[in-house]
Symmetry: C2
Subunit: 331 residues, 2 copies
Amino acid sequence: MDDLQLPRLRADLELVNRELKRQFPPEQEQGRVRDILADVTGRSGKRYRPLLLLLSARCGPNYAAQRPLLCKLGAVIELIHMASLVHDDIVDDSPLRRGQATVQSRYGKDMAVYTGDLLLARTMKLVFTEGLGQTGAALCETIERMCRGEIGQFDCRFRIDTPVERYLENIAGKSVALFETATRLGCQLAGGSADTVRNLSRFGRHLGYLFQIRDDLLDFLSSEAREGKPIHVDFREGVFTLPVLFASSSPKTRAELAELAELARQGRFASAETERLTAAVRRSGGLEAAKAEMEYHRASARRLTESLPSAIAQAFRGILDKLDLPDASGT
Amino acid sequence: MDDLQLPRLRADLELVNRELKRQFPPEQEQGRVRDILADVTGRSGKRYRPLLLLLSARCGPNYAAQRPLLCKLGAVIELIHMASLVHDDIVDDSPLRRGQATVQSRYGKDMAVYTGDLLLARTMKLVFTEGLGQTGAALCETIERMCRGEIGQFDCRFRIDTPVERYLENIAGKSVALFETATRLGCQLAGGSADTVRNLSRFGRHLGYLFQIRDDLLDFLSSEAREGKPIHVDFREGVFTLPVLFASSSPKTRAELAELAELARQGRFASAETERLTAAVRRSGGLEAAKAEMEYHRASARRLTESLPSAIAQAFRGILDKLDLPDASGT
C-alpha cells in the first residue's frame, strides 16, 4: 500500500502497528515464548484487514472521535489473522510463509498450537480491556466461521468431486469472513448508517472472495522454474481449489484429475504430475472459469463503492485494481 | 461428587450441564463438526472446576441473585477446560482420554486444532453475550497462563535437570490457574469481600497443586499389569513430573534417570525401562518428597477453609479428602 493518498491513513496504519508491538513487549517475555512472539508479531504483512477496517470507518460520522479505538480494533483483527495463520501452518504442514520459517517448522507443532492460543487469548483480552466489548460477540462468531471453513476444507481433502458450492462455502469461512468483519465493524464503530454498514459488509465479502480466488489462480499462473517457489502445494495436500474444481467438472479432464488426486493422496505427486496438473487445468478451461468468478466479485465490489464518499471509493478501487493477475497469465 | 450435601448444589451443576449442552445444539451442526462437538461436549467429567466456582460463590452475599449467571460462568470455565484438553491431546499425542478416543486420534490433529479453537471462540462469545464481560479479561489472562505453562512444559521436555521450581511454575499455569480462577471469579461474581476472594483464590491455588501432584503420583502408584492402563506415559513423552524430578535431585539416582530419559528421547522406553523407572523413583525417595509437597498443599487448603461458613467449609474439606492416594501406595 505505497500509494495511499488519504490523509492520515498511513498514520492510522502506523498506530495499528504500534498497537501490535505494544501487545507483546519483549522485556515482559522469557525464553522460547519471547522468541516465538517476536517472530510472529515482527513479521511484516500487508495489513489488508486493518486497512479495510480503517477505510470503512471513514464512511461513518464518528470516525475522527473513534479513531484511537478503531486503530485498536484494527490491531485486534490483524492479531486474529496472525493467530489463524499460526494454526493454519500446522494443518498445512508449511515450512515457509512468505519466505520465512513458520512457527510450526521452527519450533514444532506443539509450540504452534499454544502460540496460536496465546495470541488469541491476548487478543480477546484486548477486546475486554480496551472498551471494544460491543464488537466481541461478532469477533467470536467470525473466529468460529473461520474454524468451520477450515474444518470444511479439511473434510473435502482429496475429494476431487467436491462441488464448487462447497468450496465457496469453505472459503467464505476460511478467508472471506474476516474481510467482511473488518469492513462491517469498522463502519459500525464509526456510527455508519445501517445501509452503509450493509454495503460495506457486502463489499468486504466480495473483496474476500476476490482475494482468495486470486490466490488460487496465482498458484496456476506462476512458474516453479521461474520463481523458485513450489507450486500446487494445495493440491499436494489434497486441497483442491477453484481452478481445479471447475476443471474437474468438465468430463474431458475429470478422469485425469482424479488420477492426479489419487497420486497426491499417496504422496506420489512429483514434477511430472505438477506439469500434468497445470496442463489439464488450462486445457479444460478451469482457469477461465475461476477468473470469471474472480472478476464477478471484483465488479460487484466495485459497484458497491459507487455510493461511498468519492475519496474512500477511490481508495477502495485502488485496492481492487491492485488485486490483479500477472499479464503473462495465458488465460 | 456423589455426596454433595449442600442444598441445590446438585441442581446448580445440572444447570451447568444444561448450559454446556445448549451451547452446541446438534441440530444446528453438520457433518464432521457435529460429530466432534457431540463427542467432546458429551463426555462426562467430574466438573471439578464448576463445582469449585459454585461453592466459592456461596461465600458471597449475592449468590442467590447471581445464580443463573454463576451457572453460565461455570459452563464457561468447563468449556475452557474442554478446549484445553482437545489441544493438549494433540501435543501429548494421546490416543485415549479417560478411556475414550481423543479428538486428535479419531479425527486427526488438524481437526483437533480447529475444534479447540471453535470451542474457545464459542466460549468467549458466551462471555460477551451473557453479561459475563466483567470476567472476560481475567478469563483471557487465565487462558494465557495455561498456554505459557504448556509452552514451559514443552520447553523442559527430556531435561532431567529441570529444577523443581521450574516444574511447579509450569503446572501453576497448566493446571493450577484454572482452579484458582474458578474459586476467585465465583466469589467475586457473588459479591464476596476482598478478603474472602483472596482466601478462596489461595484455596483454589493449593487445590490445583494438590490435584496435579496427586495425578503425577497416581502414575507411579498404579500398576500397568493390574489396571491395564499404560503408565509413565508422561516420562515416555519427555514430561518429567514431580516424583521424577525429586528423585533426580538425589545423586544416587541421577545417572540412572538420565539414562532412562535418554532412552525415552530415542523412543526406546519399553517395559523393562518402565520397571526400572518405578524402582528408581521409589528407591530415591521421589515419591515421599512429592507426597510431602502434595500434603503441604492439602493442609494449606484445609487451613484456608477455617474462615468460611461451616457448610461450605465442610464441602470443600470433603473434596480435599477425596483427592487422596490409594492405600496400597507403598509410600
